[in-house]
C-alpha cells in the first residue's frame, strides 16, 4: 500500500470522526428530556455574596429547584441559559420566589463572588437565583453527581435540571428550550 493511499485512508477516517462528532444546528435537535434520580454530594460552595452554602440544603427544598452549569465569561450558550432563567423569573413576576434557581460555575478559577455578582446584575436577576463557585474538587463532585462532568469548561453543553419537590426526582433537559417550553417544564414539576 503506498503512502498516498495510506494518507487518504487516514484523512478519510479523521474527517469521518470530525464530521460525526461535529455540533449540529440547534433547531434540528429538539431538546431531550429524561427523568433521573441524583444523589447530591455533601459539599459547601460559595455564592455571589461570598456566603458559604451547603448545596444539599439549598437543593432539598419544598419548591422546585432549577440547576444549570455556566461560567462568567462564557460567550455562547451560558448567556442563552441565563436568559432562560431571568425570563422565568420575569414571567413568574411576584411568584418568582416560588422557584430556586442555581447556576453552578464550571470555571471556578475565574468565577469569584465578585465576578458572579456582576454577572447576575448584568442579567437583572432577582433574589432566588444563586450563582455558586467553589474548589475544583467540589465542583467536579457536583458535576459528576448530575452526570454532567466535563474535564474542561470549553467542552460544556446546554443542560438544565429541574427538581420536583414532591418526589425529589429531576427532569434532565439536554438542549436549549424556548421560554414557553421552559415554563411548561417548570409547571410540570408543580411550579406555580
Amino acid at each position: 500500500m503506498n503512502t498516498a493511499r495510506l494518507t487518504s485512508i487516514f484523512l478519510f477516517l479523521f474527517a469521518s470522526v470530525v464530521l460525526v462528532s461535529s455540533p449540529s444546528r440547534a433547531e434540528e435537535l429538539k431538546y431531550k428530556r429524561t427523568i433521573e434520580n441524583y444523589t447530591m454530594p455533601d459539599v459547601t460552595l460559595v455564592n455571589q455574596n461570598g456566603a458559604r452554602v451547603k448545596l444539599r440544603s439549598l437543593i432539598t427544598s419544598d419548591k422546585p429547584v432549577v440547576v444549570d452549569f455556566i461560567y462568567g465569561t462564557c460567550t455562547t450558550i451560558c448567556p442563552v441559559l441565563s436568559a432562560g432563567f431571568v425570563n422565568l423569573q420575569q414571567k413568574l413576576g411576584p411568584k418568582s420566589s416560588n422557584v430556586q434557581l442555581i447556576s453552578i460555575s464550571i470555571d471556578p478559577e475565574n468565577d469569584t463572588p465578585k465576578v458572579m455578582k456582576e454577572y447576575l446584575q448584568r442579567y437583572r436577576a432577582k433574589a432566588g437565583w444563586d450563582f455558586l463557585t467553589g474548589s475544583r474538587e467540589n465542583i467536579d463532585k457536583v458535576m459528576r453527581a448530575f452526570n454532567a462532568y466535563i474535564p474542561n469548561k470549553m467542552s460544556h453543553y446546554p443542560l438544565t435540571l429541574i427538581r420536583n419537590p414532591q418526589d425529589g426526582k429531576w427532569v434532565r433537559i439536554f438542549g436549549l428550550t424556548s421560554s414557553s417550553e421552559f415554563l411548561n417544564e417548570y409547571k410540570k414539576v408543580g411550579g406555580i
Binding site: 455540533p23 440547534a26 442563552v80 448584568r122 475544583r136 470549553m154
Partner: protein, 572 residues
C-alpha cells in the same frame, strides 16, 4: 411612528402570521436598508465608533441597549447578547458549547460561504452546523440580523439573536462589519511572522538570557523545520495531515530584541521608535523588574498583542485587552492572603488584621492585593504600618503594635527582615493565631524559618509545590538544557517555555487569519493547561491572567523541610 416601533410591530405580527409577514418584511427591509447605508449623517470616524459600540457593547447611538429575541420567544437585552459575545472581537466566530458561530467580518460576509476542511469543500449535508450561503448584500444581511434568515433562505440557529434595529442603526452596524478584520495585521507576510521581545535595563544579563534562550531556541527550531519540510516530502505530508494550519508550516518566525534603557518615562518613545522601524505582529515574552505599565499602555495604544511578559508588576485591569500575563504577579499573593483569611474567618473573631509593609515595590504590591481583595470581601481596612527603606521594627515596637491592636492575624510584607519579626512573635504573649509572609519576597530565606516559628507562619506560594513539580522535570529537561537554564533562573526559563507552548497553539488556532484581535479570541477559547510551574493555567474570553492560583503553605519539621499545602490552588 418611529422605525423602531415599526420593527417591533413586524416582529410581533410575524409570530401570528409567519409566512405572509415574513415576505412583507423582507421586501420592506430590503428597500429601506439600501437607502440608509448611504445616508448615515456622521463623519466616518463617528460612524465607526457607533457601529463598534453596537457590535461590541450592544448599545445603540441613543445610549439605549439594543433589544433582541432568541429561541423564538425569549426577549433579551443586546448588552448581554451583543454580536461580540459569539462572533468575538475579531468577528471570526467560534465553536463553543456545541454552537458553531460563523465569521462576520466584512471579507467573509461579502463572498459566498462554503464549508471547507483544509481547502477542500465539504458537502453541507455532512456538516449541517455551518450554513453555506451565497454572498450577502446589505439588504440580505439586514434580513439575517432581523429575521435570522440567510440569503439562501435557511433559518439560522435560534440562539442567534434576532435584533430590533432601525435602518440607521442597521446601516451603522453593517458599515462597521465591513471594516472588521478587513486587513491582515502588520508584521505578517506570506513567508514570515515578526515578533519582538522587550527587555528593560534593570534586568541582570543572566535573567535576560534565561528569558531569551527558550524563545530563541523555539524560533530556531521552528525555522529549521521549514528546511526539513522542503527536503523531506514525506515529513511535510505527515505534518500537513497533523497540523490544523498548513500554511504555518512554511512561515518563518523572527524575534527581535527591543532593549529599553533609562527611566520608565522614556520607554514609550523608545518603543514607538522600535515599532516604527519594525512593525511586528506581537510582542512575545519580555522581562522587566519594574512596573510593566509603560509597555502595557504602549500595547493598548497600538493594539499590539503582548503575550506572557515576565513581570512581578503587571497592570491589574478587567477591561484592557492587549497584554496576556502569566498571573497578577506579586499582587496575586496579597489577594490569596485575603481569601485565605476570609476562609478562616472564625479564627478572626471579629478582630482586626495588622499589616507590616516594607515601603518597596514588592511590599506595596502585596499590600494593595490584600487590601483591595479584603475590601471586596466586605472587611474594614487593616491596620497598616509602613516601614521605610532601611527601617527596622524592634521587638518592643512590635509588642506595642500587638498590644494596641490585638490583631487576629498579622501580615509581614517584607523580605529577609521578616525573619526578625517572626522571631519576636515566638515569645510574644499577644501573638495572633495566623501570621502570613510572602514566599516570593522572602526568596531562599523561606528555608531558614526556625522550627518554633513554622506552626503559626503561613506563606503565599504562587507556583506548583516543588515535590509535585518533579513530575514535569522529565519532559521539560531537554528543553531547559538547550536553553542553558540554571537553578537560579529556572522560574524565568519555565515562564518562557509556557509562552512558547501557548504561542504554538495560538498560531495554529489562527488558521491563517492573522488579525491581532483574533489572536486573543483564539487564546480565550483555549482549554485549561497543565504546564510546568503553575498548577493550572486557564483562559476565557477577556481573561488576561492565566494563573489564578496561589497556595498558602507552611514549612514541615526537620532540617530539610518540605512545603506543606494548606489551601486550594484557588481559594474561595
Amino acid at each position: 411612528m418611529s422605525n423602531r416601533t415599526n420593527n417591533c410591530i413586524v416582529q410581533s405580527l410575524k409570530r401570528l402570521l409567519p409566512g405572509v409577514i415574513l415576505c412583507c418584511s423582507l421586501f420592506a427591509l430590503s428597500a429601506t436598508v439600501i437607502e440608509d447605508v448611504h445616508a448615515i449623517d456622521l463623519s466616518p470616524s463617528e460612524a465607526f465608533l457607533q457601529g463598534e459600540r453596537i457590535y461590541r457593547d450592544g448599545v445603540l447611538p441613543s445610549g439605549e441597549p439594543m433589544q433582541a429575541v432568541i429561541r423564538g420567544d425569549v426577549d433579551v437585552p443586546g448588552t448581554s447578547f451583543s454580536c461580540v459575545s459569539c462572533h468575538l472581537r475579531s468577528g471570526l466566530g467560534s465553536i463553543e458549547g456545541g454552537v458553531v458561530t460563523p465569521p462576520t467580518n466584512g471579507r467573509t460576509l461579502f463572498q459566498p460561504y462554503k464549508v471547507q476542511y483544509k481547502q477542500v469543500k465539504v458537502d453541507q449535508k455532512f456538516y449541517p452546523a455551518i450554513l453555506q450561503r451565497p454572498t450577502y448584500t446589505d439588504a440580505s444581511l439586514a434580513t439575517a440580523l432581523r429575521e435570522g434568515i440567510t440569503p439562501s433562505g435557511q433559518v439560522m440557529n435560534p440562539v442567534m439573536p434576532r435584533y430590533y434595529l432601525d435602518d440607521k442603526e442597521m446601516a451603522l452596524l453593517i458599515a462597521y462589519l465591513k471594516t472588521l478584520s478587513d486587513q491582515p495585521a502588520p508584521g505578517v507576510t506570506e513567508t514570515e511572522i515578526k515578533f519582538a521581545t522587550v527587555i528593560t535595563d534593570d534586568v541582570p544579563s543572566a535573567q535576560a538570557e534565561a528569558m531569551l534562550a527558550p524563545l530563541e531556541e523555539y524560533v530556531r527550531h521552528k525555522n529549521s523545520m521549514i528546511n526539513l519540510f522542503k527536503k523531506e516530502k514525506r515529513s511535510a505530508r505527515m505534518a500537513a495531515t497533523m497540523v490544523t494550519s498548513g500554511e504555518l508550516m512554511y512561515k518563518k518566525l523572527t524575534l527581535s530584541r527591543w532593549m529599553l534603557k533609562g527611566p520608565p518615562e522614556t520607554w514609550r518613545s523608545q518603543l514607538e521608535e522600535y515599532y516604527r522601524q519594525e512593525p511586528v505582529f506581537a510582542l512575545l515574552g519580555g522581562i522587566s523588574n519594574s512596573d510593566w505599565k509603560p509597555i502595557h499602555d504602549f500595547s493598548e495604544a497600538n493594539h499590539l498583542p503582548c503575550l506572557f511578559p515576565q513581570t512581578d508588576y503587571p497592570v491589574i485591569s478587567t477591561t484592557d485587552w492587549y497584554t496576556l500575563y502569566h498571573s497578577k504577579g506579586i499582587y496575586q499573593e496579597g489577594e490569596a492572603a485575603a481569601r485565605f483569611l476570609n476562609e478562616k474567618i472564625a479564627a478572626l473573631q471579629g478582630r482586626n488584621v495588622l499589616q507590616i509593609v516594607r515601603n518597596s515595590r514588592q511590599g506595596q504590591a502585596l499590600s494593595t492585593g490584600f487590601q483591595e481583595t479584603w475590601r471586596d470581601l466586605g472587611f474594614a481596612a487593616p491596620v497598616t504600618v509602613t516601614l521605610g527603606e532601611k527601617e527596622v521594627l524592634s521587638k518592643e515596637q512590635l509588642q506595642k503594635l500587638l498590644y494596641a491592636n490585638l490583631p487576629a492575624a498579622i501580615l509581614v510584607w517584607d523580605g529577609a527582615e521578616s525573619l526578625a519579626v517572626l522571631e519576636s512573635l515566638v515569645t510574644s504573649s499577644e501573638r495572633p493565631a495566623i501570621t502570613i509572609v510572602s514566599a516570593s519576597y522572602l526568596g531562599d530565606k523561606i528555608w531558614s524559618i526556625p522550627e518554633q516559628e513554622r506552626d503559626f507562619t503561613f506563606m503565599t506560594y504562587p507556583y506548583r509545590l516543588p515535590q509535585r513539580e518533579e513530575s514535569f522535570k522529565r519532559f521539560i529537561e531537554p528543553f531547559m538544557k538547550k536553553a542553558n537554564s540554571s537553578a537560579a533562573t529556572e522560574v524565568i526559563s519555565k515562564k518562557s517555555y509556557i509562552a512558547t507552548q501557548m504561542l504554538t497553539q495560538g498560531l495554529m488556532d489562527l488558521r491563517g487569519n492573522y488579525y491581532r484581535d483574533n489572536l486573543f479570541d483564539v487564546i480565550g477559547m483555549m482549554r485549561d493547561q497543565e504546564l510546568p510551574l503553575y498548577t493550572r493555567l486557564s483562559f476565557g474570553p477577556g481573561q488576561r491572567y492565566a494563573s489564578k492560583g496561589c497556595y498558602m503553605v507552611q514549612l514541615d519539621k526537620g532540617a530539610k523541610p518540605a512545603l506543606i499545602n494548606k489551601s486550594d490552588w484557588v481559594i474561595h
